[in-house]
């Protein structure tokens, strides 16, 4: 029997707004697949990616699926390290109360340590 490999730490950074392109969905899909393989997954929203987390989204009118519903699958797949860069929220005039669910707020120095402590960083 092969010896099981030690889980690696993957950090996914989602930086696009929810409906303008399909990067947010690709990033989410890759993170969920990684979690299935029992790796340690961090999920970070920064830049325009923080718009994905705004509450009360309803994409019926633009013939798309509402992304907020899909983001709730992060928890179902055991991804509990869901983070937002504080600076990206502030510069877009969004408060943490405007978000879909509670997330960890990261300072810029927290971000540096997050990247430093990750084995792989996927930036989408």
């Amino acid at each position: 029997m092969p010896t099981p490999q030690k889980p690696r730490t993957f950090t996914f950074i989602s930086r696009s707004a929810p409906y303008g392109n399909n990067r947010p969905r690709l990033c989410l899909g890759a993170a969920l697949a990684t979690a299935v393989f029992e790796q340690k997954v961090n999920y970070l929203f920064m830049d325009d990616g923080v718009f994905q987390l705004l509450a009360n989204q309803n994409a019926d009118g633009i013939a798309s699926k509402t992304l907020g519903n899909a983001l709730e699958t992060l928890e179902l797949y055991g991804i509990d390290q869901v983070m937002v860069l504080k600076e990206s929220l502030a510069s877009r005039h969004i408060s943490s109360e405007d978000l879909l669910f509670p997330v960890q707020l990261l300072s810029n120095s927290d971000l540096q340590s997050l990247i430093e402590s990750s084995d792989y960083v996927i930036n989408l």
């Binding site: 325009d48 009360n56 994409a59 009118g61």
Partner: protein, 96 residues
């Protein structure tokens, strides 16, 4: 000759500054797609000349959860009104 300007990228693309330089009295400016995130930018919106009517597409606003966060200076319009605006103005300039 009045012009309707459409803008479809988020403020991070910094298109509005270029667009504003081209706006004339009587023009219209409509935010569509990711452009609707401009409704959060009160200070930026103030730099738009007062004689320009500013709109945002309602369907894109509600998709993105912005219905209650819209700046008062922006009028929400549906697809039908968007078509009317396209017809009322002599030409359309797209910012993308």
């Amino acid at each position: 000759m009045s012009t309707l300007h459409t803008l479809n990228k988020a403020p991070s693309a910094q298109l509005l500054a270029s667009c504003i330089k081209t706006l004339c009295k009587g023009d219209g400016l409509i935010f569509i797609e990711d452009g609707v995130y401009h409704v959060l930018e009160a200070a930026l919106l103030e730099s738009i000349p007062a004689k320009v009517a500013v709109y945002a597409l309602r369907e894109d606003i509600s998709a993105r959860g912005l219905t209650d966060k819209c700046d008062e200076s922006v009028e929400l319009v549906g697809y039908r009104h968007f078509v009317e605006l396209c017809v009322e103005h002599e030409k359309i300039v797209s910012w993308f």
